[in-house]
Subunit: 319 residues, 2 copies
């Protein structure tokens, strides 16, 4: 939510000269993305997002992300691929950082999507899953099921500083959910893995873009829907479940990929896993961000409450 | 340099409906301005800056700033006036903050202006001074010559934490400069009072906008040039003076408003005053911002070094 690396207008002008995109007209640092620096750049030929990758994104993984975006854009999906410079290069360097000039997409991220908007977004996700059937690159999920226990152990009993009993609740939930995690029978493909409302651009009820693919990875296809369901169907505190939005997500997704009986039966486990994943990453950030830092800490308990919705028996102490 | 107040797409859509500006297409929080929240908003009819005024700007003073921008825009100058809504209202409220929808201007702020660019910017400032001859609103300079001693005394001997001897150097400089400050013989008018390169938008050597008028006030006209000269003619550390840029500023401004003999003779005093003003405000911020805060502190000594350039006898200890 900040511009970490300043790019002077002079350096940006030189950078753009590598591309066939016209002359620089305007550039504004934008407060978007978690830990990258982003500029909204206007040239005589159009608008672009310039992203400089800071520490969160591993530069070695950029070819995966950019390859996925190219693949999806080639199939006509509304995603923001990197622009190629005159030599055909997408991943550049600027101010000592990996940097890409990226297609600008219209649309706004909604704070309170309606059921119709949720349905459209779930259909867009399903279209993405259909489009990756012939995508050949692979990336393990850096926040996948195997990573939860090690991250949980790094947090340790400090978890109880967030809420008394959180350590035992999460220990129990991780044990139960990983033991019941679906096996090889479930479809796997490239998934977004972070499709919050923030990461869907819309105009009215139309999806104009899926963005921020920097957690994309190979994992269980329906897990992507479970992440989305846990992110979209609750108020920010995680206390209030909106069944109309939740149902719309399932309905939209199922219109492209009908859920099998076993997927339906396992959906609460997948959604509980999504809640564990975000509760843990938020807890880690919470324990490692000073309370008076200017970065806003996101409440881990908002995901523990969601976990309780999907798996009431797993949360006994902390909410 | 941040977005302090979040505006949801839904609230923004409702806000824009007050105006005759088309439908919302895109909105990005931008890292611009010191302590306001700004969004770059695109509609079906154009682009705009949405500003929510945070604590730095006194809401009671907005009519002065907006009146000045209207006056300058009516005379054809490249400044960003507020857009009127359907009822003719410019100053609105949004998310509990005073808010204006403002004309978007093309152009980029330069980090290293050339002499030709500096000359064009100084001409644009002179054009602004000519255009306010019949501007009738008045605002005292909140960082003017009378405010330096009280701010200096608030900083107190803590100044020596910034550099040993800084307290005595500034005490001496304030005493000398205020004693020699020009009187009523100098033209006074509405001045920008903060025309750093950041606040001038350019395309090539053409000025496309003067922006950020939130320090504008009634004060000595040539003091505005002195502020600009001290801001543009040095490297960021204040150590290295660029005579070609400094001369270009004087040449450009003089092409519209030739400096009188007494203005020329007093120019070093005015520029020394500008250095005191920015050294003091930076020192105050420095002493009141924790070193580990995410806000970047600007080095007060960069202005003490400039002060030494204009008035070598006044700085004996701290640089």
């Amino acid at each position: 939510m900040a511009v970490y690396t300043q790019v002077s207008a002079e350096a940006l002008g030189e950078f753009l000269a590598r591309y066939d995109v016209g002359e620089l007209v305007s550039a504004k640092g934008i407060a978007e993305g978690v830990e990258n620096s982003n500029y909204l750049v206007e040239t005589t030929r159009g608008r672009f997002i310039l992203t400089l990758y800071e520490k969160r994104v591993n530069a070695e993984e950029l070819p995966y992300f950019m390859g996925l975006l190219d693949h999806l854009a080639d199939k006509g999906l509304a995603v923001p691929p990197a622009i190629k410079d005159r030599r055909g290069v997408e991943i550049q360097e600027l101010e000592g950082r990996p940097a890409c000039l990226i297609k600008f997409l219209s649309g706004v991220s909604l704070s309170h999507p309606t059921p119709a908007q949720a349905e459209a977004a779930a259909i867009a996700m399903a279209d993405m899953h259909a489009a990756v059937a012939d995508f050949t690159l692979d990336r393990p999920n850096s926040m996948g099921v195997d990573t939860w226990r090690p991250l949980f152990e790094k947090c340790g009993h400090s978890l109880n500083q967030i809420a008394p009993g959180l350590h035992d609740d999460l220990a129990h939930a991780i044990e139960h959910v990983t033991a019941n995690w679906p096996g090889d029978a479930f479809d796997r493909c490239a998934i977004h893995a972070d499709l919050f409302p923030d990461n869907v651009l819309m105009l009215g009820d139309d999806v104009t873009g899926l963005i921020d693919f920097y957690f994309a990875c190979t994992d269980i296809r329906v897990y992507d829907l479970a992440v989305m369901h846990s992110a979209w169907s609750f108020d920010a505190t995680g206390r209030s479940y909106d069944a109309a939005v939740g149902d719309a997500l399932i309905r939209g997704y199922s219109s492209r990929f009908p859920l099998t009986d076993v997927e339906q039966a396992q959906f609460p486990t997948l959604a509980a896993g999504a809640c564990i994943r975000f509760a843990l990453s938020r807890a880690w950030d919470w324990l490692n961000t000073p309370a008076d830092a200017l970065v806003m800490r996101k409440d881990p308990l908002a995901y523990v409450r969601r976990l309780k919705h999907y798996a009431p028996d797993l949360v006994k102490h902390s909410t």
